[in-house]
């Protein structure tokens, strides 16, 4: 069984192994034991905080465990707030209109405006799934488990959340936006800039980036074309978030131009449609041996430190109570009649 749970102190080795696999450009998991240990400490502290009434500096890092082998095969996380320790930068793609009635000329010129507008917002991040496990909707479980946690504990997050998506770069890690813009203001290369940022070191951005709006129409075409576009490997992740109600609102990464997607927590499909019900442990109806039958449902418990989320399949829609097998209940760390939260895995009835 595949289970989402908070990361714990024993996971350091597994996390390190995952970090090694993420590769260049995945800056929120770097293969450095000290940094990862700090991350685990932060997450453990965050999940153990009780009575949180407002988001602060919590970092809810979760892992996907294959309970049959005990292996950690993926991670996902939510930062309660960004930008409160170090500034969080993005570009807002705005519009400046230049018009001359006399000449009949009307130009709506797009501009990039440096800002810290996401300061204090919650961010979903650190999504990584081992290649061998990219099947059986594990990716969706990993991504959407976070929404179950947010649905259950909305007070721990801000009204709006966002996600940064990896932007376009070629096989050599060359980003067209960086080459046309950032490079002129930094004397370091894209990789180095990206790494510094990921280590929380962002002062240099304020120091080196131009304050003034940048006219997009003056950038070369290859740079213009990548604004708000995701890396081809990230297309599925983007679609998944958009299906949940996340929207691109013209905020892009200052280095590679990748889009930020945002949503109000209460408008996320999985949050809005999820509901609490009581768990009955027993033999559920509508469970078929045939994997192609039945709808998928996310089920999570209602606990913080012992948060669990799993994916189940049922051919008969669950009603006000939810019958779970003993194994499912165990995976969720619940006993009979405890509350669970459920939601259809995707906005469409069947996949």
């Amino acid at each position: 069984m595949m289970v989402i749970r908070p990361i714990c102190q024993n996971d350091l080795k597994s996390l390190y192994r995952l970090a090694e696999k993420t590769g260049v450009g995945f800056t929120s998991l770097v293969s450095d034991e000290a940094i990862l240990q700090k991350k685990i400490d932060g997450a453990v502290r965050s999940f153990n905080k009780e009575n949180v009434t407002a988001p602060h500096n919590e970092d809810y890092l979760m892992v996907l465990e294959d309970t049959t082998t005990g292996d950690i095969v993926g991670t996902c996380g939510i930062l309660a707030t960004v930008g409160l320790d170090e500034p969080f930068y993005s570009y807002h793609l705005g519009t400046i209109t230049h018009a001359s009635r006399e000449l009949g000329v009307h130009n709506a010129v797009p501009t990039l405006i440096l800002n810290n507008d996401f300061t204090g917002f919650s961010e979903i991040c650190t999504l990584f799934l081992e290649e061998d496990y990219r099947h059986s909707k594990n990716g969706q479980l990993l991504s959407k488990a976070r929404f179950m946690f947010m649905a259950q504990f909305p007070e721990r997050f801000t009204e709006k959340v966002f996600a940064e998506m990896r932007g376009v770069s070629n096989e050599d890690g060359v980003s067209p936006l960086w080459e046309s813009l950032g490079r002129h203001f930094f004397s370091i290369d894209f990789k180095e800039a990206d790494e510094l940022t990921s280590q929380g070191n962002k002062q240099f951005i304020a120091e080196l980036m131009p304050n003034n709006p940048v006219y997009v129409n003056l950038l070369p075409k290859e740079a213009r074309d990548v604004l708000g576009q995701v890396h081809k490997n990230t297309v599925p992740a983007r679609r998944l978030l958009e299906q949940e109600g996340f929207r691109y609102e013209n905020y892009v990464d200052i280095f590679d131009g990748g889009p930020s997607l945002e949503a109000r927590v209460q408008d996320i499909r999985a949050v809005r449609d999820s509901r609490l019900c009581l768990a009955n442990i027993g033999q559920p109806k509508g469970v078929s041996a045939n994997l192609n039958e039945g709808n998928y449902y996310l089920v999570s418990n209602a606990k913080v430190a012992d948060f669990r989320c799993i994916l189940i399949q049922r051919s008969i829609p669950p009603g006000s109570a939810m019958t779970l097998t003993q194994e499912e209940a165990d995976s969720l760390c619940i006993t009979n009649k405890e509350p669970v939260r459920i939601v259809e895995l995707s906005p469409y009835s069947r996949h």
Binding site: H98, L103, F185, E207, L208, P210, P213, V214, L218, L219
Partner: protein
């Protein structure tokens, strides 16, 4: 011989011909008959008006080949630009971005739209027939303006500037315009150049980028064109640089041609010009070439001739006196060529 005098309505056809020759990039001298006629009218008004301080006057001078009375050149002075609509330039300024921690200290040049030359007198449009582009004719025409300014300082500002034509090819293609202006004006350089000569300049305020342009983000060809003088203007530029005009980091918003400026009183012609009596020479003048002017405002004339400075004044030939419409004893103004 050559003579410089204020423009008159009869000069219109000649001006039109010169404007057509001048080509693209000389925005204040458009090949448009109506506009040229307006310019002549405005110039005549300016010469005739009593002026106590500079305003929107515009003075146009023509260069005459006295051998056949042909108009072979033209130039002018605007008493003050930016009176009705602001006068725009780009100022090249360095933006410093430094990160002590990363040991990076970047100086990034950027173009800032500004009105810094608003309220300043400007030398405009020096155009001379190809056949007469020799040192004497060019220098006479260009510096005649400075003699005029020296005579009537109350009509001009204490600072003076001139715009030098920037790089563009004979089809009017400017790599700077192509990289920058085109995106905001949605027209080609030729048209923008023409419009800025013939229409009010509101459209510049309406369409120009309002934020600084970081130079390194422009294509290389455009970067290379910034502050570069069109080769056809090298000669007239040299005359002004020689006078003491300096480049202070201002360029034209369309073709990035450099503007050069000076304190009026420190210009060579203005500092060195003298005013005294015209003396007569019976035989041919043996002295060096001089620029010599005489006459008040609309009767202002300047010519170039050999002359001999003497204690009581400047001795010039009879023919020179006649060209200037004076005789011995009249007050004249001169400076060595």
């Amino acid at each position: 011989m050559y003579l410089v005098r204020p423009v008159d309505f009869a000069d219109l056809p000649a001006l039109e011909r010169l404007a057509q020759q001048a080509g693209i990039g000389i925005t204040n001298f458009p090949a448009n008959r109506e506009r040229l006629n307006d310019k002549i009218a405005s110039s005549r008004r300016s010469f005739q008006t009593d002026v106590v301080q500079p305003g929107d006057e515009s003075y146009l001078f023509v260069l005459v080949d006295t051998s056949n009375d042909q108009i072979i050149g033209c130039c002018g002075i605007d008493a003050m630009v930016g009176v009705d609509t602001p006068f725009y330039s780009y100022r090249i300024d360095e933006v410093v971005h430094a990160s002590p921690q990363l040991q990076i200290h970047n100086r990034v040049p950027a173009l800032f739209l500004c009105h810094d030359y608003s309220g300043t007198s400007r030398l405009i449009a020096l155009v001379v027939d190809k056949a007469h582009q020799n040192t004497v004719a060019m220098s006479l025409l260009s510096r005649a303006r400075l003699l005029f300014i020296a005579r009537y300082p109350e009509r001009f500002t204490a600072r003076l500037f001139a715009e030098l034509r920037g790089e563009s090819d004979k089809h009017g293609y400017s790599s700077f315009w192509d990289a920058l202006g085109k995106h905001f004006f949605s027209m080609d350089f030729k048209k923008a150049d023409y419009l800025s000569g013939v229409s009010n300049k509101n459209f510049i305020a309406e369409l120009m980028p309002r934020y600084p342009i970081y130079v390194p983000t422009l294509p290389e060809a455009a970067q290379d064109a910034i502050g570069v003088i069109h080769e056809d203007s090298d000669q007239s530029a040299d005359i002004l640089l020689n006078e003491g005009f300096e480049f202070r980091g201002y360029v034209d918003i369309f073709d990035a041609g450099p503007s050069i400026e000076a304190r009026t009183e420190s210009l060579r012609t203005i500092a060195q010009q003298k005013m005294d009596k015209a003396l007569s020479l019976t035989d041919k003048a043996k002295g060096p070439m001089h620029l010599i002017s005489a006459g008040h405002l609309e009767h202002f004339r300047v010519t170039a001739a050999h002359a001999e400075p003497q204690v009581a004044g400047l001795a010039i030939e009879k023919a020179t006196q006649e060209r200037l419409g004076i005789s011995s004893g009249h007050r004249i103004q001169w400076v060595a060529l």
